[in-house]
Every structure is written in C-alpha cells, then in structure tokens.
Amino acid sequence: MSTEPNPEPNPAMAPDGDPEVYYLNMGPQHPSMHGVLRLVLKMRGEEILEAEPVIGYAHRAHEKMAENRNYLMFLPNTSRVDYLSGMIYNIAYCQAIEKIMDIEVPERAEYIRIIACELNRISSHLLWFGTFLLDLGGITPFLYCFDDREEILDILDSVTGSRLTYSYGRFGGVTMDVDSAFVARTRAFLARMRDERLPKYRRLVGDNVIFRERCEGVGVITRDVAFRYGVTGPCLRSTGVAYDVRRAEPYSIYDRFEFKIPTRVEGDTMARFDLRIEEMEESCKIVEQAVDGLPEGPIMPAKPKKRYRPPAGEYYFAVESARGHFGTYIISDGTDVPVKLKLRTPSFSNLSSMPDVLRNTMVADTIAIVGSIDVVMPEIDR
C-alpha cells in the first residue's frame, strides 16, 4: 500500500478570496505556548476567523514502545507521558494491570498512593497557575507557586528519590515506604497551603482588576461544544457538568474520602481559574484525610509475581488526571508483551476543541484561552 505525503491543507483555512485575510503562526517556539504547540491563525485584523492547532512536535512513540516491551518494562514510560502528573499516570497504569490480573494491593500502599497522587495533582495545578499568570504578564505569582511546588517535590523526593518522573508504583503496591518525617512534612505543607498560600493567591490574583478584565467572559466553552469534542476535566466542569472519574467510576479507595467536585456554569477562563483553585483545596482535604487514616502494614503483596501475563482480551481503565479523563486501553494476547496499548489522554480532546472556541475572538485573548484549558503537549503527542 502506498503512503503518500500530506494531501491538501485544511479547507477551513483557505483564504476565501478576502484580501484582508492573513495568517499568523504562533509557535512551536513560543514563550507561552505550553510546550511545542503550533497554532496557525487565519485572521482579519485583530479577529481570528479560524484557528488550527498543529501538534506532533513532541511525539516520542510511547505506544510503539509499549508494543516492544513487556508490561513491567513500560513502567518508567508512563510517568513521561505527562510529566506534570507523572505520579498519577504511573499509578494509573499499575492500577490497570492490577485490576486485570486481580492483584490485591495492601491498605497502606493504597493510602500512600492516594497521598502521592493528590500531592501530584496539587503540584500540577500550581504549575498551571504560575504559568497561566506568566502568560498573561503577571510574573510574580509564578515564583510563589514554584516555592509551594518545590515543597511538594521535596516531599515526594524524600520518599521516591525522584522529583518529576517517578517510577514509584509497582504492580501490587509501591516501592518505598513513608515514615513519620514524611507525614509531619505533609501536614505542615497542607496547613501552610490552606491557611496562607491559597487565600493569598485569591487576593493577589483572583481579585485583581486587570486579571478579571482579561478573563471574565473570555473563551467560553459551551456544554454543547464540550460534549461534541469529548472535553473532560476542569474544562468540562466549568460548563456545569459535574463529571469526575473519581466519582463516576471510583477506583482505588477514593470512595472512602469526602471531597466535593467543584463546578461552575459560566464556562469562561475565569470559571476555569476559580475551579482549579477550589480543586487544589479539595485535594488538600483528601490528603489530610488520607494522612489521618494511614494504616500500618506492608506496602507490597507478600508474594509478588515474577511474570505478568494478563489473560487475552481487551481492557479499559480510567482515572482522573489533573487535566481530565485519562484512559488506558490494553489489548493482550496472553503473553507478557501487549498487542496494543492506547493511552487516551485528556489534553488531546481538550485541545481539539480550540478551533471552535477561538473562532471570532481577539488574538490577544488566544494566550489566555489556550493557557486556561491547561494543555500539556507531551501527553497530546505521546
């Protein structure tokens, strides 16, 4: 079968014979494009007529690597798919295989996983917060957020030995145990976050008039657009749909914790901002409950398996990552090398809604909108 190179360009982007239409290329090397995203904008004056995201600059062939390695060898890759929520993806893959092979996870390991994943979620939202404001021109909160984020990274570093791309989970549990110093440090961090830092961010940024003028009413994602494009995560919750995989398909021990699912109805950039601050607070609540209830016990099953051979068939497992619904689809043929591993990443669908959202907006709002949907290019390109 012949493979011909790229055929005709996108018909929506054709000039239409209008002499005032011009094309602006944002990225892939751009200080505020959140990784290597290229946005081709068809514009008339300041107004955007059509936008086309061009992706693939960070494609590293993770799915192909999965077909060339066995299940255990793929563990380090999972963190690198989305390295900002690396712990969540790592544990999600472990949980998928555990569900398929009926491996029981000890209680203590479950609690530790929840603590690590929620801390990772907070650190991802903090990074989003800092870079979002950096894009809008507010350089100050960026370093405040990174100060908080450093504390989380140090806490996770003291247990796993890595700061960003963890290989912490194993099938059945976690590799290293936490001690009382970890618990004390986490508690101190949570207290500081809830009492001092999050209110400060609200006052410094959320009430700021320049920020409000730039974000209110900008980049509205309607429920219909969100449904058609498969948008999940905070972008969907900002339109009023309370869909969170931790509630819809409870996995691990999330059903033991009390936490709210924040929603807004406006669907604009300001709504997504408020929503993520609230989500950070809810994650702090979850970590606090988990730390209070941390039981004693082992962190790996007594007799871990040597070879992992899931029975032949197709399996799907979903978790809530910091950006939305992350699904792992595994086709196994009974050997220890998968036939196919598909990673359904949330930012892929979230970014595909950009042409609809960016139509008829101003180019100056593009940065705010693209920043507010929290796209991470490595998980789009895998």
Partner: protein, 171 residues
C-alpha cells in the same frame, strides 16, 4: 453547597437512564453483528459489539441521540490474523457509567466512514488512526497526518514496522 445539576439529574431519573441504556443497548445490538455484556469489574466496559463498518454511522447516531460521549477511537492491526484492521470506538455516558465498546473490521485497503459530522471529537481521533495505521476515512473534512511529520512515508503502529532487535520476543 447545592448539588450540581448533573448529579441531581442522575439521582432523580436513575430509573429513566437505565431504561434508556437498555433501549439503546438493544437497538444497537440489532444493528451490530454480535453483542455481549462484559463484566465491568474485570474489563472496564459494560457492552462490546462487533459491527459491520457500514453500520457505524447509524450506530453512532443512536449513541449521539442518547447523549453518550465519544471517548476514544483507535485501531488494531489484525492483518496477520484476519486480514483486516479493527477499529475500536468507545462510548460512555457522563451522568451514569455505561461504557460501550464497538468493534468494526475494515479490509486492508478499504475506507471507513467518518463520524465527524456527529462527534467532532472523532476529527482528531480519526486523523491519528490514519497517521498510525493508514486507514482512510471517507467524509472526513481534513484527513492528514497529525503526529508524525507530514512527509513521513510509513504508518507507525503497524505490526510490520519498527520491531527492534533486542525487544523482548513474545514468549
């Protein structure tokens, strides 16, 4: 805090939505060649269907009318076993958990119908399937490569491409 709207709807018409998913399940099952229930606790989905590729747009229309979200479109290279490429569509409802997996076999050089007129999410998913497996979709507004370079002359996830020598052999 008042209950968000979607959760409130779910509690009050749980019966209604279960009835709807049963109706949906049976109408899709009629269109498909085979359908079976799957154990969610083990597999992660509730129903799996094998459908003729020609009936995919109609099946998709049923899911769209019932308010199901298109979660994923992907493909499996089965040219060694069955001489076909198997497309996999995943649908799920946001208010109540009900995941349906639809398989459709496409012959090695044939085209599949695109469902972008209903779900714009399929736009990028189908482009990725074309990019990685070479399956063309008729009726797609903008079918071109999405992840690989535009002038690439290979389809990356096909089984006859890219096996490295010291990869663990399937034992």
């Amino acid at each position: 805090m008042s209950k968000p709207r979607a959760e409130a709807e779910h509690d009050s018409d749980e019966h209604e939505t279960e009835k709807m998913s049963r109706i949906l399940g049976s109408s899709v099952a009629e269109l498909a060649e085979s359908s079976e229930h799957a154990d969610y606790a083990k597999y992660g989905y509730h129903h799996v269907y094998l459908a003729n590729i020609e009936s995919i747009p109609e099946i998709t229309r049923h899911f769209f009318d019932a308010g199901y979200l298109l979660e994923m479109v992907t493909c499996q290279d089965r040219r060694d076993d069955a001489g076909t490429m198997r497309l996999v569509y995943t649908f799920n409802h946001l208010a109540h958990l009900d995941r349906h997996l639809v398989h459709a076999d496409v012959a090695a050089d044939a085209e599949a119908p695109s469902i972008t007129s209903l779900y714009q999410a399929a736009d990028w998913f189908e482009r990725e399937v074309y990019d990685m497996y070479g399956v063309r979709f008729s009726g797609h507004p903008n079918l071109k490569r999405i992840l690989l370079p535009e002038d690439a002359d290979f389809y990356a996830l096909r089984k006859d491409f890219g096996r490295i020598e010291d990869a663990p052999q399937e034992s």
